[in-house]
């Protein structure tokens, strides 16, 4: 996983609430066995018309937002399905940070597994950042994970919260399976204890 430290980039304004995972990447594009290549179909129905031509009014079809690495949105971003294809599509397009008032739980969680930083900030603050984002290239935002601040173009620093363990994993680009495997003795002990307490718990074997 790519580490996330500091990012200075163009932010794309997407002033929509309840941006669901079907909107981020429709199910018909989930028939892949790879993690990459989904960026082309990110926000497919918003980005392209029925003939597959770009809709010029959609933000990611405009300069400089074609190169945006930050996305600013409204409430409940990422609601719906658990598909990790949603953060994969964002990442494949180049988005490394999403800022919104709040996120759906599974999407939020999935971001961290892919080096994407989701930041929750109050709606009024998101609205200010949305205004900055509308200025495009003239108003790049900086996200500094170590210091936990978003820096606006005028230098104002907006602090944000993040779980310390997630911050550590993200800053260092660590895969959490390796972390968990350090607890393998405890997992073994748990399984033995469970078997003693619930000997009736069956295993699955398909004949």
């Amino acid at each position: 996983m790519q580490a996330f430290t500091t990012l200075t980039a163009v932010a794309a304004p997407l002033p929509l609430a309840n941006v669901d995972t079907d909107k981020i990447i429709p199910a018909r594009f989930l028939k892949t066995i790879a993690r990459t290549g989904l960026g082309r179909n990110l926000f497919d129905s918003l980005r392209y018309d029925a003939d597959g031509k770009e809709r010029p009014d959609f933000v990611l079809n405009q300069e400089p937002y074609r190169h945006a690495q930050i996305l600013i949105a409204h409430e409940n971003f990422g609601c719906g399905s658990s598909r990790e294809h949603a953060p994969w599509a964002l990442l494949d397009f180049g988005i490394r940070c999403v800022i919104a008032p709040d996120f759906a739980d599974i999407f939020f969680n999935n971001c961290f597994k892919n080096g994407i930083l989701p930041i929750s900030l109050p709606r009024a603050v998101c609205d200010k950042l949305m205004q900055d984002a509308r200025l495009g290239d003239n108003a790049r935002l900086t996200v500094d994970l170590a210091r936990q601040v978003v820096v606006r173009p005028d230098g104002e620093e907006i602090p944000f919260e993040i779980d310390p363990l997630r911050k550590h994993l993200l800053l260092n680009g660590l895969d959490d399976i390796g972390q968990t495997l350090q607890h393998v003795a405890a997992i073994d002990a748990f399984e033995q204890r469970r078997h003693a307490e619930q000997p009736w718990l069956p295993g699955i074997a398909v004949g």
Binding site: H74, G80, S81, S82, D105, L165, T180, I187, L201, V206
Partner: protein
């Protein structure tokens, strides 16, 4: 152990699965059952392979194909090459890693959230995960069940655990009894209408109260299934005699003496009197009418007797804009009666409503009637065994004679990953769980409702109040 402090059902399941608590409060949480399907697993198995890791507990894992399988005759080759590759990839992975698997032509194949309870794989008190948000369904068994992404699928395959922090507890209590013609689907749509699509974010919802206790297991599975549509991490219903009677004798459940011992344990799971909930919401079952969604988020829902809302009456500017956008997408007019909305397609199926009880409800309405001219109506059973049961009861004949298509099990038109999808502009009365833009096919328009309401829409050609079909 947490001593004498009263605990919720969620607290009890959580506490009994903590392998280790890390200093920051994150827990290594043990997972009893891992359900795997073809769409969210290929990258996870690939990750294991690249790291030289094994599946830690194949005997706590079960794989099945459901999301992109065709619902036509499956003895033939699957036409779509990408779908075929995903299915073949799963078959290669389960063989390589020794994971139990129900193949496409096995009678036990079906939608992962239908077959778990049906086979007795999902049991009370367990932790259950799957790379699918509707894993919340299994909470109806009294299990803590939630959806995960592919990275976490890989994590569970490798370690049989997840790194998690406990959710907050939310109680949704539904007092009284549902009126005739009002089902579990209407109940959960009413709950989502009340608390909103983000109303449960960060919480596990426990459903309780007389109306919930009175539901059969199919109804409880429907309610818990849609917990995720309220943003909740999971939904839960306390296991009781209804649960135990359902589990008894299922192929993968404990049998005989073992079953009795299991029930003894399961009876300790319900929330203690005085247990703390961070949030409590109450509803009166008697106030709930048959419901139907009119917008592109499940919270945009109204009683079937209602009219399409007028955006100009919405106070908040952002909400007004969203309402306008939804009506535009759905091609509805403010003030239009919902019963005047015509439909092109009817879909009865999905992990929400494809169990035998759902098909019986649909057949009851379809019997002696016919699908309206110009309407295409599909019934997609949730599993091979549901299909077989329906055929033994003659429900397939009733539905086919009424002009419905009777198809093979799978997720089908719930998400349009297989050939069953809407074409742009088509309007569908659907028993599935999501009415998002393009969910059932690009440009498709979805109205969520119960199986009986869907059948009523099929035979009238428009959204209709099932209570008029008595």
């Amino acid at each position: 152990m947490s001593g004498t402090k009263p605990r919720t059902l969620f607290d009890k399941i959580w506490d009994s699965h903590v392998v280790e608590r890390l200093p920051d409060g994150t827990c290594v949480l043990y997972i009893d059952r891992h359900l795997v399907h073809e769409v969210t697993s290929p990258q996870a198995f690939e990750g294991l392979r690249l790291a030289g890791r094994k599946v830690r507990r194949p005997d706590e894992t079960i794989a099945v194909v459901d999301h992109n399988v065709p619902t036509s005759d499956r003895r033939e080759r699957i036409e779509n090459p990408e779908s075929r590759l995903q299915i073949e990839t799963l078959e290669r992975n389960v063989a390589e890693f020794g994971v139990p698997y129900f193949p496409l032509l096995d009678m036990r194949q079906g939608i992962v959230h239908v077959i778990g309870p049906e086979q007795g794989i999902s049991l009370p008190g367990m932790t259950i995960v799957c790379g699918d948000s509707h894993t919340s369904t299994h909470g109806a068994m009294g299990a803590l069940a939630f959806g995960i992404g592919t990275s976490e699928v890989e994590h569970v395959l490798a370690t049989q655990t997840l790194l998690q922090k406990p959710a907050r507890n939310m109680l949704v209590r539904v007092d009284g009894r549902l009126a005739p013609g009002v089902t579990a689907k209407d109940l959960v749509l009413a709950i989502i209408g009340k608390i909103g699509t983000a109303g449960g974010t960060g919480h596990v919802i426990e459903y309780a109260g007389e109306a919930i206790e009175a539901l059969d297991m199919a109804g409880r599975l429907t309610v818990c299934n849609m917990s995720i549509e309220a943003g909740a991490r999971a939904g839960l219903i306390a296991p009781d005699q209804t649960t135990f009677d359902y589990v008894r004798g299922r192929p993968f459940a404990p049998q005989g003496e073992e079953f009795a011992r299991a029930v003894e344990y399961w009876r300790t799971l319900p929330s203690d009197p005085g247990a703390h909930y961070d949030r409590v919401v109450t509803l009166n079952a008697a106030d709930i009418a048959p419901m139907v969604t009119w917008g592109t988020t499940p919270e945009a829902v109204l009683p079937i007797t209602g009219t399409v809302p007028d955006p100009e009456q919405v106070e908040d500017e952002a909400a007004r804009a969203q309402t306008r956008r939804m009506l535009d997408y759905m091609a509805l007019t403010p003030g239009q009666k919902l019963t005047d909305v015509p439909v092109d397609v009817v879909f009865i199926g999905s992990c929400t409503n494809s169990r035998i009880e759902d098909i019986r409800e649909a057949a009851k309405i379809a019997r002696g009637r016919h699908v309206a001219a110009g309407v295409r109506a599909l019934v997609v059973p949730g599993s091979g065994l549901v299909k077989q049961q329906a055929e033994q009861e003659g429900l397939d004949r009733i539905l086919i004679e009424a002009g419905f298509e009777w198809r093979e099990p799978g997720c089908s038109m719930c998400l349009g990953m297989n050939p069953d999808k809407l074409t742009p502009g088509q309007r569908c009365a659907s028993t599935s769980n999501r009415n998002f833009e393009g969910r059932q096919g690009p440009g498709g328009r979805t109205h969520l409702l119960s199986p009986a309401m869907a059948a009523a829409a099929a035979v009238t050609g428009h959204l209709a109040d099932v209570r008029e079909f008595a």
